[in-house]
Symmetry: C4
Subunit: 206 residues, 4 copies
């Protein structure tokens, strides 16, 4: 496996584990009969937070994957920037659990919502930094990639990233709306991606 | 690694982690001497739930693996559907722990059993959706696959999937019987698979 | 990636996660100053159990790896047997935590020790079953493997496996001695392996 | 996948899981409104410990990766030494949680800091042992590697490793300073690596 492949494999591991650990923060309620049904219903913020965070991390993975698919090699700086990105990805079960625990109580939910959105902002900033770094002179790109065209996407890229700080403000108004926006952003980014000339993945029948 | 390979690797990670996290929900009992033996015996529903859920997720992985083995490439829609499927797979330690905690008490066990079977229904629905999507026009299949023959399996596929909603009803009668049926379904699906002409995996000596 | 490769990758995931989850059962003691030092010292059975179980699972992985290195392909039966083996591997953090929690108290430690050794017996039985299955007619072996020579190892293989039930009896005499024997067995199996003519792994500069 | 590849894949798994488990030791505080904000601020040692340990494990992974990139094959001794190294890597969430829990209280923080640094010393010792083993006669190196040049790095390697025991002494003076030094060492080792003639990784466009 080449260098790029192993960085991708390590990153895949962190993404896969972070999504799967999300479930550990949903506790098994005690109580019996009707109480159990009520306790399960009371946990609904946890289910919503699980679904949103799973989608968000999943789509982060899809986009991480697309970005690394453009690269022929990696260098020390990129490996280090990627490590910082993974640090934020791996942290996501914590703000998810924080938000789920406090979403029912208006005052707390705002604090938890700002923290949750703040972690998403940190992810967006690091992702933009990596994109800025690899498009600067395209020294890591596969030979078929049009570096000029890749660099031209920077503006659109950064505009999209501005949505994330806006969700911090939204968290102060309505943490539920903030969560809905993160879900919508995930679905949006799942289906809308910048296409870079020459960057089409090679589909091989194995 | 091509696109399909990386989606498989990420999925493998989620399957492997979800199975391995199941053990975290079996707690270490306190007490000493004869009390410890009794406490361990009292945990038997946890052991049964662990075995059944491990088999179920394991067989889900085997079948996921077989399905992706038919594909030459993936597209955005399939990646997104697969993400939804993995969201359900990754959630399985929670209904497993819920069922284990409440299996001894008749009233609660029914509630927990319906939730457990409900998560299995969600999995079956998503799996059928993916199968429906890839057999629709076979645009992602390896060139050797007979798309018409693959599409012809849809009916048999959906009939099998009807067993899952039936387990929800069974949970109301007997949660233990429901669990036994899930174990039998897992063993059944481990050994009986639809064979698609041209879809034999290529065994290479590496 | 071929079939064998993906079964190995999934198995590697379960082995890696099971070893890494072991640490979650060592808790952070409260208390301050000298109390903290004493509390840390009091946890020593947990450290010993961690080291032994990590070695045991690590060496299980090494041998699993060696066995699968002999195979050109897998079939449904092997995939299912391997799933049962992984079910036992993934369970190991639980008997490890059980033993660590009860090792200081003579009466309990015997119960916990029998459970711990019992799980190891289950692993040894499944591993022998897999070896028996693949050497029966060698239908899954790489073409270079001498099936007759592989089958001839069965006796030596089974004799080695008898050590595991003996550790269950030893646990009743001295759980600490039982743990020491498991550590020794792990080191022994790490350095002594059956060599099968034609089964040398291919070392490639990639 | 060849032998080296599978040892790397297993190691990658352990590194990825160990980093991702770090977040499980940051708990979700209770309390509401201003209390929640205060509780979150009170957790700051946990955040700092998370960041430092994530960087440390991440950089350990980068260097592990670079070392294995020099190898064409592995032998039993290396697999066993690597297993001991991974045992220390997988243990890191525990000293991290220990340090985070006790960093606010001067007396305890020293005890926790010595344990934290002690685990790092164990890692450095094992890493040096592996380097000493593979450079002894270079029997595992890829053919392009200059074994003599690789062996000549041993002194510089060991000098660097002396920094780790020094951090144990520093922990007695100031656990916070000790933590800062570990962060600096991680950043230093991320960007400064011994380059071995002939050991450049092969960058292939897939």
């Amino acid at each position: 496996m080449n260098e790029t492949g192993r960085v991708e494999a390590f990153s895949d591991g962190v993404f896969a584990i972070a999504t799967t650990l999300l479930i550990l923060d949903i506790h098994v309620p005690a109580g019996s009969g009707h109480e159990l049904t009520a306790a399960l219903a009371h946990q609904s913020p946890s289910y919503v937070a699980y679904v949103v965070s799973f989608l968000v991390i999943g789509v982060m993975w899809v986009n991480h994957h697309a970005l690394f698919g453009l690269l022929a090699k990696v260098d020390r700086t990129l490996v280090f920037l990627n490590l910082l990105l993974l640090m934020v990805v791996a942290a996501l079960p914590w703000p998810t659990a924080l938000l789920a625990a406090h979403l029912q109580n208006t005052g707390d939910a705002k604090v938890a919502g700002v923290v949750y959105s703040g972690v998403m902002v940190a992810h967006a900033l690091l992702y933009c930094t990596i994109w800025w770094y690899v498009t600067r002179d395209g020294h890591l790109f596969r030979p078929t990639i049009d570096t000029r065209a890749a660099r031209a996407t920077r503006t659109r890229f950064n505009v999209g990233a501005l949505a994330y700080p806006a969700t911090m403000a939204l968290a102060l108004l309505s943490p539920w709306a903030m969560l809905a926006v993160h879900a919508l952003l995930a679905v949006y980014y799942a289906f809308n991606q910048l296409t870079i000339p020459g960057g089409e993945p090679t589909a091989t029948p194995d």
